[in-house]
Subunit: 211 residues, 2 copies
DNA sequence: GCACAATGTCACCGACCGGTGATATACAGT
DNA sequence: ACTGTATATCACCGGTCGGTGACATTGTGC
């Protein structure tokens, strides 16, 4: 008896650090994906993982460490999510078209990624910056693998153009989840997205056409 | 004396409801602009306004009402911030170019507006949706005033193109404040922005050129 | 069998949050 | 001058947060 300490009611965990860490990371993922970064706190994550928050401090040194671990586990995902190399692109425009399409497809159904991007926009920090860096690194290596020796036409500021394209894709993907539309353009069904994608394709082809 | 109640230490306010409301709205503005929506709470705003939080409940019915009031005061600002009508645009491309430039200029130095956009992306709600609506209404009426009878070239999906442009502008303006760059493109000095603006101009001209 | 570390859980702390009732104080109508 | 009301402030509540120290349980090496 001896009372006080609950006794047999609470079954302790499996006593396996690795799997516990994995559970915590997974819990952080789902919390972030479902409620966004505002709801990502020590207590919430621990509750969702079904273990004590103390373990977050012990194993990750706090929430920051946990997010960092989440980040590394995430950049691996992005690398595999981008489409595999198939036919080499014929023109630089085709190359960028592929990138835009791939990015749009990945972003559209990765709610977690959307949340993280918003997070970076909302409260920049060294931690979030690192997440961003590892993500764009993955993107760059994908580009390098696809590019071959294609070069943009002379007279076009390719880095700026590509930044514009990527910015647009990111913003619309995020807006679509948050609000269902953007600038009067409904973004709910696949048809809407195809229309948008056709437009982006067109813009890329136009700006990157030889001239 | 009866003690307890502080006594003379706290000088009550000027006892002018209008000016107090204005102070609260102004406080909400500055809090939002400086720390973002995460820090926008009853206590914070009241503290910054230098009055009691009770007044927020009395005059605005709570934080939502205050934000709503802030919103109306804000859409008025946006209307005056957009550039006045000058020479009518020669082509539809020129028209959109003007819009893009105006929007970019406004967004770049309106931190409050940037924060609100991020807010809408992070946690959509009826309130935020209303803010968005009133903002795009202001944008539309500006467009209507400028357009005259210009029409986009046949075969171009103008709404989609414009959505892409606006999305890109918004995203880059926000990213610039949050992180100082975007997709490897530094966005700190005016020169960087001019380069970006030239690119956007070019893209608009290319996609909207007659064909 | 016994010390010892690793793992897991609990109880508690101070701080802040949103929200509300009660209480002063100024002012306006009579 | 008296009363009523709008204005402003304070004190307090329950709840949640991040963070920490203490405790229980399991396994390991000797």
């Amino acid at each position: 008896m001896s009372a006080i300490t609950g006794g047999a009611a609470s079954v302790p965990r499996t006593r396996d650090r690795e799997s516990t860490e994995a559970m915590l990371i997974s819990a952080a993922r789902s919390v972030l994906a479902e409620v966004g970064f505002q709801g990502l706190g020590i207590n919430t994550v621990a509750r969702r993982a079904g273990c004590d928050k103390q373990l977050i401090y012990r194993y990750f040194g706090g929430l920051d460490g946990l997010v960092e671990a989440l980040g590394t586990s995430l950049s691996a995902d992005l690398a595999t999510a981008l489409p595999k190399v198939g036919e080499p692109a014929a023109t630089y425009a085709d190359l960028m078209q592929r990138l835009a399409r791939g990015l749009l497809a990945v972003l559209r159904n990765d709610e977690l990624l959307q949340r993280i991007i918003v997070w970076e926009l909302a409260e920049p920090s060294v931690l979030l910056t690192k997440l961003n860096a590892s993500r764009s690194k993955a993107l760059n290596s994908w580009m390098a693998a696809q590019r071959g020796d294609l070069v943009p036409p002379a007279g076009v500021d390719a880095p700026a153009v590509n930044a514009v394209i990527i910015a647009a894709v990111q913003h619309m993907a995020i807006s679509a989840r948050a609000k269902g539309d953007f600038a009067g353009l409904a973004l709910e069904t696949d048809d809407h997205w195809h229309r948008l994608q056709a437009t982006i394709d067109d813009m890329i082809q136009q700006v990157y056409r030889p001239r």
